[in-house]
């Protein structure tokens, strides 16, 4: 123990041990799921069933379905989850014959064009062809609304008010625009299923006005569930294991603390 503290810079030993053990746990588990292909069990998020009912209701009322995937400024877990949800919704609109509208654009001042737009088109096309509905794919509207993410949402709000869709699914990187996307979806009577990573004031606006909401860590989990991608599934499983270790650490902290000695807080700031 003595030797370790001279190599590692003073006060950073515990961070070093924790960071590297977490990184090794994630690396091993993700590597195992990728090589064996055996996907760990994952709880089904409630919003997934809601998507099916929402598209079904939209078809009954003969109304369109609008599905967006966020600002897509960077390919973080929220954007990946948004794209996986988009292909899942597209499969339903293909089988049930609802007309789908996918608002595109945004990114970081015009960088969405060359990056997310082709990916989104590709996902919807493969969803429709996998259901044998190539000719319906031509009816899918994927308008490029603006280079600025907030202006994309303003145009989506105008679209909501004009078309009064049956369902509005929007999971992904959403910030301030959550308020008027959620509020106007409720006002025009659309079933709204929404999610944005983190738990902040913007996500609170979704909780206030949406019918189904995907909160914080549930966003990458829903992406992993829908895409069935072994990397994401393995990563969610590894993160749960690290959370168990964290809770054990906290539990030991209390035991040490209630015995009066501050062994734990001394250890953790080594």
């Amino acid at each position: 123990m003595r030797k370790m503290t001279t190599i590692i810079i003073e006060g950073r030993l515990t961070g070093f041990i924790l960071l590297f053990s977490f990184m090794i746990i994630v690396a091993l588990i993700v590597y195992r799921t990728r090589s064996t292909g055996k996907l760990p069990w994952l709880r089904r998020i409630a919003a997934i069933d809601a998507i099916e009912d929402a598209v079904g209701r939209a078809v009954e009322m003969g109304k369109p379905v609008i599905c967006g995937f966020g600002r897509a400024r960077s390919f973080d877990s929220a954007t990946l989850a948004g794209l996986s949800t988009l292909s899942y919704v597209a499969e339903f609109t293909a089988t049930m014959g609802a007309d789908l509208i996918v608002p595109l654009g945004g990114g970081d001042m015009g960088t969405a064009g060359p990056v997310t737009v082709p990916i989104a088109e590709e996902l919807v096309r493969t969803a429709y062809t996998s259901k044998g509905k190539e000719e319906d794919f031509k009816k899918v509207e994927m308008p490029y609304l603006s280079d600025e993410s907030f202006c994309v949402s303003t145009s989506v709000v105008a679209m909501l008010q004009k078309l009064r869709p049956g369902a509005h699914v929007f999971i992904g990187q959403y910030y301030a625009e959550t308020m008027f996307l959620a509020e106007v979806s409720r006002a025009v009577g659309a079933i709204s299923i929404a999610g944005s990573s983190g738990v902040s004031g913007n996500v609170a606006c979704l909780a206030v006005a949406c019918d189904y909401i995907v909160i914080g860590e549930e966003v990458p989990a829903i992406g992993a569930y829908l895409s069935g991608d072994p990397t994401q599934r393995g990563s969610i499983f590894a993160q749960d294991i690290i959370k168990i270790i964290t809770l054990i650490l906290i539990f030991f902290g209390y035991i040490a603390f209630s015995f009066g000695n501050d062994f734990f807080s001394k250890l953790i700031s080594l």
Partner: protein, 274 residues
């Protein structure tokens, strides 16, 4: 009346009422009382406690959309810093931020003359810092990134000559509308224990409170109320105080609408059951 009817009728009325309830108290201020909260007092005392000649980084994490709310904080903090014997480095880690540094200093120019502060000796505008890596760079080796100021003039001969890295910075004040504080926590507080103060939009208050309780920042100012309180405390009244009446009235309208909305829900439920 169906849900949709209510929405289509209520919406324009609510928008107009919101506009009027803000506009009228701005033209004819009512002068409702402002009580300074403890977090603003701690914020003020932290600046007051800075010894003479200490170096302060003021970070404008301000986009165009954040200016209207953070103007009262930025102007009053800048004026208060100018009235203190401290040296200030003005930076911004948002592309549109540097324009607001100049706008704020122009508004504070009476104070600059009064305390005859000199550019280069008392304050320098270092301008834009591109991303978290730029913040980390000035923490690890200031002069490797910054050799000229925002106007392109060399910083030789200014007080920056004896600022080598993060350890020479005595206080960081980050007024942010898009998470501008965490890079300073990571690269200044963790490595050098630099005290940090955060000014934030209303929405950023809950995470600022957590940062205070965890000890990563000393205190915070929240939105226009925070700005108004600091204006009041530092003796530089400005747009914050005049907006406080409108903010109070708008809050009352918001609460009234929540209650009204639930009465409508209740009446429909009872109506439905009867």
């Amino acid at each position: 009346m169906s849900e949709e009817r209510i929405n289509t009728v209520a919406r324009p009325i609510i928008y107009l009422a919101t506009f009027l309830l803000i506009g009228i108290p701005l033209i004819y201020p009512v002068g409702l009382p402002i009580k300074v909260s403890q977090s603003t007092i701690d914020f003020y005392n932290q600046i007051e406690s800075m010894p003479e000649g200490s170096v302060v980084i003021m970070n404008f994490n301000v986009e165009t959309f954040g200016w209207d709310e953070l103007e009262s904080q930025l102007v009053s903090i800048t004026k208060h810093l100018i009235s203190r014997p401290v040296k200030v480095i003005y930076v911004s880690d948002m592309a549109l931020g540097p324009a607001f540094i100049e706008k704020t200093l122009k508004m504070a120019s009476p104070q600059i003359e009064k305390h005859n502060k000199e550019y280069g000796q008392d304050y320098v505008i270092a301008g834009y810092l591109a991303g978290e890596s730029a913040v980390a760079a000035i923490a690890s080796d200031f002069h490797k990134l910054i050799s000229v100021d925002y106007y392109g003039h060399s910083i030789e001969g200014t007080f920056l000559d004896d600022v080598k890295d993060g350890s020479d910075i005595d206080l960081v004040i980050s007024v942010d509308c898009f998470g501008g504080t965490s890079p300073y926590i990571r690269h200044f507080y963790l490595s050098f224990g630099t005290p940090i103060l955060t000014g934030t939009l209303g929405g950023g208050v809950p995470s600022a409170i957590n940062n205070v309780q965890v000890g990563q920042i000393k205190s915070y100012l929240g939105g226009i109320p925070g700005g108004a309180e600091f204006e009041y405390l530092s003796g530089f009244p400005g747009v914050g105080i005049t907006s406080s009446d409108a903010m109070t009235i708008v809050h009352l309208m918001g609460i009234a609408l929540i209650i009204l909305g639930n009465i409508v829900l209740l009446s429909r439920k009872i109506g439905g059951r009867v």
